[in-house]
Every structure is written in C-alpha cells, then in structure tokens.
Symmetry: C2
Subunit: 373 residues, 2 copies
C-alpha cells in the first residue's frame, strides 16, 4: 500500500484564525494543534498510553538529540520512531537547528553546514541540510523539518540577512535531498526581528513545494508585541492552503495571539516543564501547587478537567507529592498540563468554527495578554 | 453498614507453605501476597491505576512518615488514606517502629515510648504505642501494626531481651488503645537472632487476640540461613489460622524460603528501588537494563510478562530512557518489577495449591537460593 498522501485543509476561518485538518499517515489532526514535546522519544514522565489519554495525537521529537542517543540508525533498525516509543499518533521531528544555534559551543557555520561539539559526548559534528534529512528519514517521522539557521534576539541586521540567505539555501538543499515517500517536509521562515526580512522569507519559501511552513527564530526571549509584529510580517505571505507552524511557543496567551494571526501548529515544553516545577495550568490561570493554600484542599486542580489527575487526585495530594519530592507529583502535573493544552486548543478550534474567537479570553482568562504561565 | 469483619483462612498447605485468603473491607487478598511499598502514600513513580494494573491489591504505607507529612490529621480530614491516594485496594500501615530504630538520631527508648528527632524537620517526637494506634486509626488503613522495638544485627543478648520485653508490653498497650472498628491490628514478634527469644515471642503474642502476626527484626543485614533459622524458631508458635507477615523482605529467593517456612505476607521496596536503578526482575533472574547488550534489542524485558512495559517497550527503548536519565525509564521498570512480584506470588500460590512448591525454582530460576536480585 503506498503511503497515504499528506493533506491539509482549512475548514473555517475567523478573521485570520483558521480551523483546519491535517492528514498524516491516515491520522487526522484537527488544528489549531498543540504538540507535546518528547525530545528524546519520551514526553517526560508520561507513558504513551497516558499521553494518548490527554487527547494528544501528534508529538514533537528532536532529530539531533535522537541522532546522538540512541542514534538514528538504532531507531531505524528498531522500526522507526513510532515503534521505538510505542506511539501510534503522528510525530514531527525538529531537525535540531534550534538546538545547535542555541545550545552548542564552539559552533562554526559555513554555507556547507554547521560544525559544533555534541552536547552529549563532546564529539565534533558537522550537520548539513542533507544529513538532517537523512537522519529524519531514518527516524521515520511523519513530518520532517529543514535545517535552518536560527538568529538570536537581539540580532544585528547583517547577521540576520546572512542567516536568512543560508536558511533559504539550506531549505532548497533539503528539498533536493528528500527521498522518503510519505514523509512531509516543512520549511522554516526566518528573518530575525526585521519585518522586511520576515516578509522576504515568507515570499521566497512560498515559491517552493513544501508541505508546510514553519516560522522559526521566535520565542527566543523577545517581547510578545514584537513577536506578534513578526508574525504579521510573514504569515500573509505564506500559502493559504498549507499548515503554518510557530516553533517553540508557548503560554496560552501567546498561542492565542498567534492563532489569531493565522498559525495552525504549536509545540512547547511548558506543560511538562512547568508541571515538574509544580505549576498547574487552569482555565483561570496558573496554580502553584506547592502553595500551603492547597494543604487541605479536597478539590481537584481543575473542576471541569477530565484528566486522570483531576479525576483521581485532590490538590492536597498533589501538594503532598510535590513537598515530598515524589516522582508522581511531576507525573500527575505533566499529565494534567498536557491534557489542559489539548483542551485549550480544542476550545480555540470550536470558537473559530463558531466565529467568536474575539471573545475567547472571556471564558479562558488564562489566555489574556500578559497572563502568567 | 457495620465494617466487614477481618477474615483469614488457609485454603491449602504444601509442607509448611500455605495458600490462603485474607478479607479486608470486603476485599479478598490471595496469599502469599506481596505488598508494594508506598511509604508516603505513593508507590514511587506509579499512579494508582498503573498499580492496579500490575495486579497489586494491597499496599504498605508508613504511618510515621505520613504523620510527619502531610500529617495524619490532614489525611483523616480528607477522608483517610484510601481516598487521599485514590487507592481502592487494601492498605497496611507500618507504625514506623522500624524507621525509628533504623534511621532516627538521638533516640531514647523508655518503657513509655521512644523519643527521637524527626527525620523530616528535626522536631522532637515522643512516639508511644497509643500514639502509633491513634495515628493509624486517623489514617484509616485496613491493617495497623503495633509499635515495636526493632533490634539491630548483630545484637547483644541483653539488648535483645530488653527490646523483646518492651515489644510485648507495647503490643498489649496497642491492643488496649485500639478503638476503630473494622481496622485489623497485627502484632510483631521480635527476639533478634536468639532462637529461644524468637520462640518466646511467638508463644507470648499467640496468647493475645491479634488479627495477624508479623515477624520483625529480620532483613536487617543478617545472612539468609540465619534468617531462615529465626523463622523456624518462631513460626511454629504462631496461630495456624492467622496470617503471618515477614516485614521488609525481599528478594525472590528470600521470599520463597520464607513462604516455605509458613509466611503469608511480604513487603519490600526492591521492585521500585531496583527499578529506578535500572534493574529488571525476570523469571530467569535480574537484567541490568543499562547494559550495552540491550542497545538494539527489540525484545521486551520479559516475553511471558503481560505488563504495560513489556507489552509496549523494547529493551532498547528502556535502555535508551535509562541512559538519557529520562523519568519514564524508572517508571516502566517500576511498573514491570511490581507486576513481576505479583506474578511471582501468584505462581507460588498456584504451586502450593498443586502441592509442588518443592520444584518452584525449576520454573523460576530467579528464586534459587543465592540468586541475585
């Protein structure tokens, strides 16, 4: 049976916001969608079954991290990423460009690729666009990402232009290098914080046959209004009938702002990282579950949440687990927060379908601009 | 509705080994039984649902630890330990005697009770038999344990005699102090490593109306043959029609040896602690899951195990999670090991019912005397 074609359609729009459907390997993903992050083929602390029960149907894994351990060849030999991690939903792999440009030491970029020291064992690595594709094809994800050069914030204009030129060149090389049928390939628009570069990137990449269009280089420390301006500079130049993915975002308010500017896909470590740190996302805003206020509370973290943690654990129990540094505290919070993000995205989608995204914050105060968490 | 009476019956014996049934709050527990340890109202890393799926129906929690945090009054206010931790199986609480005598600093024992510094906040605590009962009644466990004085190994005879005298006196005070209907109370035989003291303890306690009889002060560093000799010194003097519980044991081989000497109940941290350290129990023996040998293995940890980890994860995936220090590695191993111990106990029970416990090690090499793990 030939692999099912990649598909995307916009079902409904509310202003620039879109409700759509993504099809990958026969799996239908409703958008806007939030992908929990499973860098190393595990969303921290959660089993694949728990993850499925949160409503998540698509994850992000990191190709660079996985190439370091256990190695993409090992994953390929074991039947690919889905089999390796026991996940029957969809998987998008990030190429690792962001990690290389944000974490790596002794980095040297040339048009050929980027050389750096492995964060894992210190060995020297030369990552090229072709290698990024080869790794992701070996991993067998449903969506591969191009290798890009991610500029920092702030970034001198000259550097931003150079990174953009390379990002575009590498995107074309990734297109040329791809060989795996049934695996979608997304490009990444860059341009740092220069509106005209953002526009140029959108226009340039739109001319290339990518399955989806990501916006990279945001959520790197810039203020939200600046990020939103960058989105407004690039999104109008991306194809209407392709999914748009804002990488690495974020808080509910930031996601809502991006959805309103036409973004369909998101990923972020916040639900699990903040969960391990004792924060619970709720519709009303963040709860700090270590607080003494929860000491004797028999209420669930959130009354209208149907997740396993809210069905079975009181705030007092969660607080106790966190105070005692018990693993289960982080597990239950990660579970709740991951389920919360799925619920948040479903609510945005329904609100778009009903044409009233403008009122979203009324029912979801957590998504008010400037809201914490 | 009045609380259902505590019940125990021996269904079948094979030599001194017994297959029985324990009834607590209407829950039937087949014996021999292994209770996973959830010291602080959580079996480390596992949700109540995961725990249930391992086949476990009875847990051990620690009354002293819980009295320190979150506090027995908090647990009582929240409806007791079962509601607090979302566990619908049975719960036995240890009084904390073992912890006081093995961990506490600045300990002072008198006939009245034991004073020591809290391991948690350094505050001074005076624990009496009456307080141990009051705490456990507040927690609402199904089985409470008396406060005892646990002698170390090795132990001078004079100290062993003094500890035994106090243990017996305290046992009677616990009996007098109990007031909660429907909560069973078990005593603890002591006597260190003196066969005649062990016998004396068994004879003395058998004359008192306890629901069950534990053997304490073993599994404290002594060689297995010495432990077995102590069991042979005390068990024949315990009532036939009451459950017998060997506290804090242990490895499969040690459990088998104790079952053969007439013990019905066990608890130990090994399945979860060794799980977090990367060891998998299997019928054939221990697997060290960090070993490079598992790097590319698509086999489950154990072929005939139906646990979630063995159904969904390869050895290669488990090894990867452990190498990357990912929480899920410890979770999956704890899950497997906990399920393994339940399977091991079910197998012993069936073998007793079939009258062939003598051959047990043939099918379960992990339980051979001296087997690792």
């Amino acid at each position: 049976m030939p692999p099912l074609p990649f598909g995307f359609e916009v079902e409904s729009a509310d202003g620039k916001a879109r409700a759509g459907r993504l099809r990958l390997r026969g799996i239908e993903i409703e958008t806007p969608v939030f992908m929990p992050v499973g860098t190393l083929a595990t969303v921290k602390g959660l089993t694949a079954q728990q993850l499925r029960e949160t409503g998540a149907r698509m994850l992000l894994c990191n190709a660079y991290h996985l190439s370091q351990r256990p190695g993409d060849a090992v994953v390929a030999k074991l039947g690919g990423l889905h089999a390796f991690m026991g996940w029957d939903g969809a998987i998008l792999t990030d190429s690792g460009g962001y990690q290389v440009f944000s974490l790596a030491t002794l980095r040297q970029v040339s048009d050929g690729g980027v050389s750096f020291r492995s964060h894992f064992d210190g060995s020297e690595i030369f990552l090229t666009p072709e290698a990024a594709i080869r790794i992701q094809e070996g991993l067998g994800s449903d969506v591969a990402m191009v290798l890009d050069e991610c500029a920092p914030y702030p970034c001198p204009r000259g550097d931003a232009e150079a990174a953009l030129r390379r990002t575009h060149m590498w995107a074309e090389r990734c297109l040329a290098a791809r060989s795996r049928e049934g695996q979608a390939l997304f490009c990444i628009a860059q341009g740092a914080f220069e509106p005209d570069l953002r526009r140029r990137s959108g226009e340039y990449l739109s001319g290339l046959p990518f399955d989806g269009f990501a916006v990279g280089g945001l959520s790197v420390g810039e203020p939200a209004p600046l990020r939103n301006r960058m989105l407004e500079s690039v999104v109008p130049f991306l194809p209407e009938n392709r999914p748009r993915y804002l990488m690495g975002l974020g808080k509910p308010a930031d996601i809502l702002a991006a959805v309103r500017r036409g973004i369909d896909m998101f990923d972020c470590v916040l639900p699990t990282r903040n969960g391990r740190n004792g924060w619970a996302f709720t519709r009303q805003g963040v709860l700090r579950m270590r607080n003494a206020a929860h000491r004797e509370s028999d209420a669930p973290m959130e009354r209208d949440c149907g997740c396993y943690a809210c069905r079975t654990a009181s705030r007092a129990y969660i607080r106790h687990l966190l105070s005692a540094e018990e693993m289960l505290g982080g597990v239950l919070l990660s579970l709740h927060n991951t389920a919360f993000y799925q619920r948040l995205m479903r609510a945005m989608r329904e609100t778009i379908l009903n044409g009233c995204l403008g009122d979203f914050e009324r029912d979801w105060p957590c998504a008010k601009a400037g809201a914490e968490g």
